[in-house]
């Protein structure tokens, strides 16, 4: 039985990594026809560096992610505090509504926003993308910060208040540092989702404003070259480095 299980594990790993290896290996391939190995080269990476459109798209991705994450994190954390700490009318309804952007398929949210923008005469550009990303970012941040708040021992706060700190000081010096891992976790998730988002950005972007995923999509539709392999490999290593960094930051004890 154990053997069978191990075989399954092996198969799963092969299945998951075959595409990744294909991408990486063929990004160094001389031949433009992928799957025919002709030789080693860094040509495609060089070509990538010269691709202005790509860099502009990457910059846009960062701008959008930066703004939307900041806004979503602040709004989401505030909402999480409100839900977790207080009872108010329609609290239940609000808790369900927070889940909706996560449950409802991307494409539905995307077209909904597109139609809304058009109806409200909101111009499509970079801001329209940021607004959209904040909308789903809030949900993720709220859920994660809420989870962190649930295990929160409020006696620490009460102690601070007893010792004479006012509410604001208590929040800044006690509460916020203690929920910081949750807030940072939510922010990281919102950031990642924003950078990687394709469907919603595809529909809400203005003409001339592309983000990296949308640009990659047009590259894929235009014609497949190993340049795409190169950018894929770069993005993969980028993600790995970022995650390792974030793990190191959290401390060696946590994996």
């Amino acid at each position: 039985m154990k053997r069978l299980l191990q075989l399954n594990v092996l198969f799963v790993f092969l299945f998951l990594y075959a595409p990744i290896f294909t991408l990486i290996v063929f990004s160094f391939n001389v031949s433009e026809q992928t799957a025919v190995w002709k030789g080693l080269t860094l040509n495609w990476y060089a070509k990538l560096l010269g691709n202005q459109d790509l860099w502009r798209a990457a910059l846009n991705s960062l701008i959008v992610a930066g703004f939307s994450t900041s806004i979503a994190t602040i709004i989401g954390t505030m909402a999480a505090l409100a839900i977790e700490r207080y009872r108010f009318p329609l609290r239940d309804v609000f808790m369900r509504v927070i889940f909706l952007p996560i449950i409802i398929p991307d494409i539905v949210v995307a077209i909904a926003l597109l139609m809304f923008y058009v109806q409200a005469y909101i111009r499509l550009g970079l801001a329209s993308i940021i607004i959209a990303h904040v909308a789903f970012g809030i949900s993720y941040v709220t859920i994660i910060v809420r989870a962190r708040l649930k295990g929160f021992d409020q006696s620490v706060e009460e102690a601070a208040l007893d010792l004479g700190a006012n509410e604001w000081k208590t929040f800044w010096k006690i509460t916020l540092p203690l929920i910081a891992p949750g807030v940072v976790g939510g922010a990281l998730l919102a950031f990642t989702l924003s950078i990687d988002d394709f469907v919603i950005t595809f529909f809400t972007a203005g003409v001339g404003y592309t983000t990296l995923p949308v640009h990659i999509y047009s590259m894929l539709k235009f014609g497949i070259t190993p340049e795409i392999n190169a950018i894929s490999t770069l993005l993969l290593f980028n993600s790995i480095v970022l995650v390792i960094l974030s793990m190191k930051l959290r401390g060696p004890a946590r994996l």
Partner: protein, 310 residues
């Protein structure tokens, strides 16, 4: 106020007093505090999510004008068109593909999660991490990688020709199978992680107890472990089924326009066919399917949990 006294500026003193006056109501009335904390989220979700979603519903009753705009002649025409076998077929295909994806993910993922939970305590974090790493690439890119593998001059066919020189290449790309593979690939981690979380919590002592009472391994599994892991199974299934039903990228890239799922059809209404009202009707139905599925899940599996939360 200690802060302004140390600076000894009467103007600053007044300003701080004013601030304290203003925020006094905020501090003394928890309701106002809640309102201010909630307001941004409320505003954003109301205007940039709820109202757009309602807008879909409203648009679904309109008609397409001659040049692709929206004509506000309200009728049920779009929904009648929906019930045409063509579109019902596409809906059914999307749902059945999603069911198959969920099933295969379960078949692959359950043994995996079980193995890690039961036999690999030391390496569990590493193994789980390795499951998640492919997820760190962009979804488009992961799907693109399958194009490289599955197409006629792709890796799979090259390997085939390598081992069987006389074989003709299999046309795997732009078929439903390619889309199926891509969807399973994209969402397998979503199945494995909740399964693992649920299996890991099961107390080993229960299995030992079953064995002590004379149960053979299979029995112990079926009667003890499987039932206890149902919450994980349910969560995993929901996390795979929901995105798969509304999938757009995977059918688009791996299906090459020949394989039509509900996601592509909706996209086409908004980008090329310019029939926003009909696209809205399709989206509304898709949304309905997903919401009903989620509601069922929550009713069936989260009732107990919710009660504990209160």
């Amino acid at each position: 106020m200690p802060e302004s006294e140390s600076l000894n500026l009467p103007a600053l003193d007044g300003a701080v007093k004013k601030w304290h006056q203003l925020t006094q109501s905020f501090r003394e009335h928890p309701n106002r505090r809640v309102f201010i904390l909630l307001f941004p989220a409320l505003f954003w979700l109301l205007f940039f999510f709820l109202i757009p979603i309602i807008s879909i519903f409203v648009h679904s009753f309109a008609q397409r004008s001659m040049y692709g705009g929206v004509e506000w002649m309200l009728s049920l025409q779009n929904y009648r068109r929906l019930l045409d076998t063509l579109y019902l077929g596409i809906f059914w295909r999307s749902i059945s593909t999603a069911i198959i994806s969920t099933g295969v993910c379960l078949i692959l993922g359950y043994p995996f999660a079980y193995y890690v939970a039961r036999y690999q305590y030391q390496w569990r974090n590493v193994l789980l991490l390795f499951i998640v790493v492919p997820f760190w690439t962009n979804f488009l890119i992961r799907t693109y990688a399958w194009i490289l593998i599955l197409r006629t001059e792709g890796v799979l066919n090259r390997l085939l020709v390598l081992f069987f020189p006389n074989a003709t290449p299999i046309e795997l790309l732009n078929t439903p199978i390619a889309v199926q593979i891509g969807l399973i690939y994209g969402y397998l981690p979503f199945m494995i992680l909740p399964l693992y979380a649920s299996l890991e919590q099961i107390d080993i002592a229960l299995i030992d107890a079953a064995k002590d009472l004379g149960a053979r391994p299979w029995r112990a599994f079926l009667n003890v472990i499987l039932p206890l892991s149902i919450p994980g199974v349910a969560t995993g299934c929901v996390l795979v089924f929901m995105p798969t039903v509304g999938a757009f990228i995977t059918p688009d890239l791996l299906g090459g326009g020949k394989v039509n799922y509900i996601g592509n059809v909706i996209e086409r209404q908004f980008k090329t066919a310019r029939d926003w009202p009909f696209g809205s009707a399709l989206s509304f139905l898709l949304m309905g399917i997903v919401l009903v599925g989620t509601a069922i899940y929550f009713r069936a599996f989260q009732e107990g949990k919710k009660e504990n939360e209160r």
